[in-house]
Amino acid sequence: MEPTTATAAKTPADGHGLSKALASDNRLKTLAATMKRHQYQPDALIEVLHTAQELFGYLDLELLVYIAHGLKLPPSRVYGVATFYHFFSLKPKGKHTCVVCMGTACYVKGAATLVKTVEDYAKVRSGETRADGSMSLIQARCIGACGIAPAVVLDGTVVGGQTPESIVGHVKGWLENGSDRAA
């Protein structure tokens, strides 16, 4: 109803005891600028969470509380939104990410076998990150690349027409050579 009292918030987290590591993190300035650009409107919560995840890779609790103070929202609301949407992750991701598309087109072309293959080969459960932090395995709803099913996203690059052999080939490279790029 009333315009947000942005003027009252000098810096959004004043007096809310940020940990030293976070307070001195430069990325926090970018995040604060994003909130300011949205005039600390509570409506901008999802945009702000997107930015925070882009900057930090994941949303830890301290960050969520910081955002809650910035946008003058109860932390429960911020936590509720962050956990509602699949896109937001509250845990750090691995160095590499393998996203297997489990859309219908990919499913009928064997995507479930791809997931199983990676799970067995890399000893990681779907939706989780390997203990050594080397890679995460994620299932996607549908990435809209149905024309080239089954599709997999390796570190942000979409590759189509995958087989259990080809996907193991990629993952093997990550785990053994620490190679940074998907072939």
Binding site: T104, I143, G144, A145, I148
Partner: protein
């Protein structure tokens, strides 16, 4: 900006493009098949051959035949090459000047896949560079907006859409013009337009393709809608999973603002309109309009009961018009060519065309646009080329997790809203997934129910608990622990969830189970612990 300036921009762009044009598909499907490298090698091959003056290499939107990617088309000879590699580039350029055939495989533009299409929504797709507004203007873009703003009253625009018979392309098929009239009628200090680009159905990629190939068309449709209903602010709610569509929309909005085609006093009229993007965060339920509005307001995407409908009580309580990407993309063509022209296409109750995404066990995967009423068989067998390696079609799944599986015996059904509903499926947004004999239908039902169970927002009990129970029963069937009685329970439970859920997600979640129970019951019975009654031959 006035009409003369607009026409000048178009004319200048057409002159720039004169001569030979090599169009490389740079939509997501082809990009992931290395189209960017193909484009670069074509550019250098053109430069090396000294043809830079007369030959232009352009990145364009989706050329449709995704299974043949990367695709390259050559004008004016109208040649289409498929599965092009960077190594093919020099020979494609040499072929332009009669230097022998190109090494790349030539696709057949005379194949039914292309000839049976009637492009309205996709008319510019694969023809124009989605990142150049000039290219859209050269294809007569933004003229319909001028026509609407300067030569039509808002009520006339609404009437034109009513008369066209256009129905919502998001799945439910509500008459678009009536929705517009409702919003136009409400008196309010503010109104909003929302474009639903939260294309969540797995197996559907029409909207992604339209946004990646022709983003200005959607912006223009939204602007015309805003003028018709009296709104001044629009939002496009687009899936976070579509980064390329997001970036092209951002470019398009920036370009349109720069030319004053969005913003204040568009075409020197009193009409203002601005468009902002809202990026989804991966929740299927946000395709439901009230959940989507919640998400735009920065909240959890949970639906609320309707009425009140968004037309009266939408974003922040103001009247809001929500349409799907494809619906908006039809608008400029309707304004340009008239409602009578549009109403002549399609069937009596379903007018115009529909874009479908063909995927699964089918030879020609990709995007097609056909008149409403085209038989499924024409789409699957003639255009799609049937199942690869000569297998037989077992079922066609339409409408994603809200739709159903249509058996091969019903392939002669014409595709329109009513016929598909009669088969227990829905038109949905337009995903069409072909399944063959290797796909077990109980598996498929289980797959969809797992999806709906995960995506249920948890607000109403029938959906939250019902989908979990149905999923549990399906797992029991698959593990061979179920009895005939369980199948009856499954049937009852599905009907209950369908009838009592709050929103479209729950109301349609049982469709995949009900339709497979109806058409493929023997497959369920084959899993039963004690096969009673003895399975009949199908």
């Amino acid at each position: 900006m006035d009409l003369t300036e607009l026409l000048e921009i178009g004319e200048k762009e057409r002159q720039r493009q004169g001569g030979i044009r090599i169009r490389v598909c740079v939509a997501a499907g082809c990009l992931s098949a290395n189209a960017q490298a193909v484009k670069q090698s074509l550019e250098s091959a053109v430069a090396e051959a000294g043809l830079a003056e007369s030959v232009q290499v352009s990145g364009v939107g989706c050329l449709g035949l995704c299974s043949g990617g990367p695709l390259v088309a050559v004008d004016p000879d109208n040649i289409l090459y498929e599965k092009v590699t960077p190594a093919d580039a020099p020979s494609i350029v040499a072929a332009l000047t009669g230097g022998g055939p190109a090494t790349a495989k030539q696709a057949d533009f005379n194949h039914p896949f292309f000839t049976k299409q009637v492009p309205i929504v996709l008319e510019n797709s694969g023809k124009i560079d989605p990142e150049r507004i000039e290219d859209y203007i050269a294809a007569n873009g933004y003229q319909p907006l001028y026509h609407a703003l300067r030569e039509m009253k808002p009520t006339e625009v609404v009437d034109a859409v009513i008369k066209s018979g256009l129905r919502g392309r998001g799945g439910a098929g509500y008459p678009t013009g009536l929705k517009w009239a409702l919003v136009a009628k409400v008196k309010s200090e503010r109104k909003f337009i929302v474009c639903n680009a939260d294309e969540g159905d797995p197996g559907a990629f029409m909207d992604r393709s339209v946004l990646e190939s022709d983003p200005h068309r959607v912006l223009e449709g939204m602007a015309i809608a805003a003028y018709a209903v009296g709104a001044d602010q629009g939002f496009i709610y687009v899936r976070g999973e579509y980064p390329l569509a997001i970036s092209r929309l951002q470019t398009a909005i920036r370009q349109a603002r720069k030319l004053d085609l969005l913003g204040s006093q568009i075409f020197e009229s009193p009409f203002h309109f601005r468009v902002d993007l809202r990026i989804g965060a991966g929740a299927f339920v946000c395709g439901e309009e009230t959940a989507l509005m919640g998400s735009i307001e920065g909240k959890r995407g949970t639906p609320r009961p309707r009425p009140p409908y968004p037309a009266e009580h939408g974003l922040w309580g103001f009247p809001t018009l929500i349409n799907n990407v494809e619906t908006f993309a039809n608008i400029p063509a309707i304004i340009r060519n008239g409602s009578e022209w549009f109403a002549k296409i399609g069937t009596e109750k379903s007018k115009g065309t529909k874009v479908f995404a063909l995927a699964g066990k089918i030879k020609n995967t990709g995007l097609i646009e056909v008149p409403m009423g085209t038989p499924l068989r024409t789409i699957i067998e003639e255009m799609g080329g049937g199942v690869p390696d000569g297998g037989a079609v077992k079922a066609v799944q339409t409408g994603g997790p809200s739709g159903g599986c249509i058996p091969a015996s019903a392939l002669d059904t014409p595709v329109d809203y009513e016929s598909l509903a009669g088969l227990g499926s829905i038109m949905g947004s337009g995903g069409m997934i072909v399944m063959d004999q290797q796909n077990n239908m109980v598996d498929v039902a289980h797959f969809f129910m797992e999806f709906c169970m995960d995506e249920s927002c948890g607000k109403c009990v029938p959906c939250r608990a019902g989908t979990a129970q149905i999923h549990h029963l399906l797992a029991k069937v698959r593990e061979g622990r179920a009895t005939a009685k369980d199948l009856d329970t499954l049937d009852h439970l599905c009907t209950m969830v369908k009838q009592t859920s709050l929103c479209g997600l729950g109301q349609s979640a049982p469709n995949p189970v009900l339709s497979t129970l109806r058409y493929f019951r023997p497959e369920y019975e084959a899993f039963l612990a004690k096969p009673e009654p003895p399975s009949e031959t199908a």
